[in-house]
């Protein structure tokens, strides 16, 4: 989500996978030949457990998978969909790759930021929304496309965007 992903932030608190997450990890491990091979799905479990992946969460993943923490850092910062800082309840991901761009993604992104009063990679004061720009999310056929957490909303226009934001704002 960030243009530079050099730092894995500290949460300032120790992270230990809760039992239910550990159970999921055990199941994941049965599908891979080595523990290292399971790193990506286990990082997803970490992200789903804590909402974002802190330095301590990365260390917990390294511990569980017997990997050097530096290797986990390398993978975390290589991929863009692991959140390296806390994000809002709704992660608004607006695609600006070619198809969406040609269909007005830029104005959509701008409208989104203006309505929420935040810039790119910022989170609203109430912690509800984080706005990010993403590369192609494979919604070209119904561009412009955007995702909220892992749900697609497409094709979007100003009216649909307003309705979506209104609905999400009303939610607790």
């Amino acid at each position: 989500m960030s243009h530079t992903r050099y730092r894995v932030m500290e949460a300032g608190e120790a992270r230990r996978f809760p039992p239910e997450a550990m159970a999921r990890i055990e199941k994941i491990l049965t599908r891979y030949p080595t523990k290292q091979a399971a790193l990506l799905p286990v990082l997803w479990v970490a992200q789903e457990t804590w909402g974002w992946i802190s330095k301590e969460a990365g260390e917990e993943v390294a511990r569980v998978l017997d990997l050097p923490p530096s290797h986990v850092d390398g993978v975390l910062t290589f991929y863009t969909m692991y959140n390296l800082r806390p994000v809002g309840k709704h992660l608004l991901q607006v695609c600006t790759s070619i198809s969406c761009h040609l269909n007005g993604a830029e104005s959509l992104l701008e409208r989104c930021g203006k309505r929420l009063g935040i810039g790119l990679e910022e989170t609203t004061a109430d912690g509800k929304f984080t706005l990010v720009e993403v590369e192609c999310i494979a919604g070209c056929d119904r561009a412009p496309s955007m995702m909220v957490n892992d749900q697609y909303f497409e094709p979007m226009d100003a009216g649909k965007l307003d309705a979506l934001l209104d609905r999400l704002s009303r939610e607790a």
Binding site: K55, S70, G74, T77
Partner: protein, 559 residues
């Protein structure tokens, strides 16, 4: 009589030719036999063909990361990264075609898009692979006038106790990452981010702090990783390289002493696959710093309560006089000789000859134990725990108590009370800075030491001789494997400082034996003639060290 012709007995099949353990490979039309397990880049080197590269390292895994080693292979339509092409019989490699030249120049151009041209302030300049390859294979002019990528917060930053990172200079070859992963086994380094923003860094809270972290700076082909100790101290082309052996422990890593104007600036590992390969531990590497320390510049002699300066010959004469008077009064048992694990075989040998000459069985050489230090040779880890490089050699030269003689323990415990004690190296052990133990040695009527640095022992001694450092003398050490290794002199000691063997030779002459013309070379010849395990050893065979055929040396470590 049968007309049936008798079939000739079946002839034995011709013996199969012995399987070849080499491949015939040609480089630019020149055919050469090379071992099968070689990498193509090293095979080319055997043929005298230089294939430029950054990421390939003979002891690290092959990653084909840098794209500098591109060559044409007959039968393959596209240019190939030489390091990734397995050798096979009949392989024909072309390194001088236009296609190859253009590809190399293009790779250089890509690398220089972001690499700063700050060579005038970069410590790597002069030993930089990027500089060399740019000069040898790059374009003369740059077509690039855009701004370069920089990592302002990742420059001039310590990423470990010894290594400084300047990530703006990094060319992403991954040698350092592979070194920490594959050799050190500590995996501190990793790539962060990706694409044009990739950089090498550590996990926060886990700095590059393994025992060989300096090697990460060694394998770095550019100035992205340098050592804090050597940074900004000297341009590398001013440094004179002298082959030597690390004084840190009994592993005996082969080093290059890098000096200029009689100052040692750094140690670098010197390739010896059977001992330290390409590596050197940080402890040994940074002993280059204390090598320049010296407190003892002149010989001193105590007269009554006063200590005054003397010439070295006068001081040695005083020692000889004291030894002779003790011999006359009390016999040979009244003199005690102590060698050292820091002295060369030649020096310890000469000390033992002096003890033989006066007939004293009281001789010893001890060593302190340190925490185990190890280094990866080409095949196994070699481990040592002596706090001196040559205890094995000192023992081999005969520096242990003879029949009816006493060792250092007995002297310190008061079980033996020699009148005269000669200690050939005042830094032989921590004992020399332990006031109680020095007091025990001081019970002797006369105490003489050779020293570079002052300690409790030199302050207590009657005669102190100024002794040369490792860089100021030559000789041989015998390591934990029983390998006799030669070290050369980087520069002459400043008079009146002399190597311990010179002090000992003066003493031998004063006591009536030896030859003024003896050098360490002559002493090694005498060792070869007189010390059984060293029989026939020749100086010219000592390139890479010669393993003694004793077979009782402890090999530690894992395969």
């Amino acid at each position: 009589m049968s007309s049936t012709p008798v079939a000739p007995p079946p002839s034995a099949p011709p013996p199969a030719p012995p399987p070849k353990d080499t491949f015939t490979v040609s480089f630019d039309g020149k055919a050469i036999e090379v071992p099968k397990n070689l990498n193509l880049i090293d095979a080319a080197k055997l043929a005298g063909v230089d294939i430029p590269h950054f990421c390939y390292h003979p002891r690290l895994s092959v990653v084909g990361q840098c794209r500098m080693c591109l060559v044409e292979i007959e039968g393959m339509p596209k240019i190939q990264a030489a390091c990734t092409v397995p050798l096979k019989d009949g392989l024909s490699v072309k390194t001088t075609t236009d296609k190859v030249k253009n590809a190399r120049a293009a790779t250089m151009e890509f690398l220089l898009i972001n690499h700063p041209l700050d060579c005038p302030i970069c410590d790597q300049a002069g030993e930089c692979t990027l500089q060399d390859n740019s000069f040898g294979y790059g374009n003369q002019l740059s077509r690039f006038d855009e701004a370069k990528r920089q990592y302002p917060t990742f420059d001039r930053t310590m990423i470990g106790p010894h290594v400084v990172a300047d990530m703006t200079r990094c060319i992403q070859c991954t040698r350092c990452i592979r070194f920490t992963h594959e050799i050190a086994g500590t995996s501190e380094l990793t790539f962060l981010d990706r694409g044009g923003r990739t950089l090498v860094w550590t996990h926060e809270g886990q700095p590059l702090a393994n025992d060989w972290s300096g090697c990460a700076a060694d394998v770095c082909p550019v100035g992205a990783l340098t050592t804090r100790e050597f940074r900004f101290r000297s341009r590398v082309w001013y440094l004179q390289k002298t082959p030597s052996v690390c004084p840190g422990c009994n592993v005996g890593c082969n080093i290059s002493i890098e000096s200029r104007d009689d100052v040692v600036y750094r140690f670098l590992p010197r390739l010896n696959p059977t001992v330290n390969d390409y590596w050197l531990c940080d402890y040994g590497r940074f002993l280059s710093e204390p090598l320049n320390d010296r407190d003892v510049h002149k010989a001193t002699v105590r007269e009554g309560s006063a200590v005054r300066e003397a010439t070295v010959p006068a001081a040695v004469d005083r020692i000889a006089r004291e030894i002779r008077s003790s011999l006359e009064g009390k016999g040979p048992g009244a003199v005690f000789f102590l060698g050292s694990a820091h002295l060369s075989n030649e020096e310890n040998f000469l000390l033992r000859k002096i003890a033989d000459h006066v007939g004293s069985p009281n001789r010893d050489a001890i060593v302190d134990k340190s925490r185990p230090r190890k280094v990866k040779s080409k095949t196994v880890w070699v481990e040592g725990d002596d706090a001196g490089a040559n205890h094995q050699g000192a023992k081999d030269m005969g520096l242990s108590p003879g029949a009816g003689g006493h060792g250092l323990d007995a002297v310190i415990a008061g079980k033996a009370s020699p009148e005269v004690i000669l200690i050939a190296d005042a830094a032989f052990s921590a004992i020399a800075d332990d006031p109680e133990k020095v007091a025990a040695l001081r019970r002797a009527r006369f105490l003489a030491v050779a020293a570079r640095n002052a300690n409790a022992l030199t302050r207590a001694a009657d005669v102190v001789l100024p002794a040369a450092s490792l860089a100021e003398k030559e000789g041989t050490f015998t390591n934990v494997q029983g390998r006799v290794q030669k070290f050369d002199r980087a520069f002459l000691p400043k008079p009146p400082i002399r190597a311990a063997w010179e002090h000992l030779l003066l003493l031998a002459l004063a006591l009536g034996f030896g030859d003024r013309s003896w050098t360490p070379h002559d002493l090694l010849r005498q060792i070869a003639a007189e010390v059984p395990d060293y029989a026939g050893i020749k100086e010219e065979e000592l390139e890479g060290g010669r393993l003694l055929k004793k077979g009782d040396f402890a090999w530690a470590g894992r395969p």
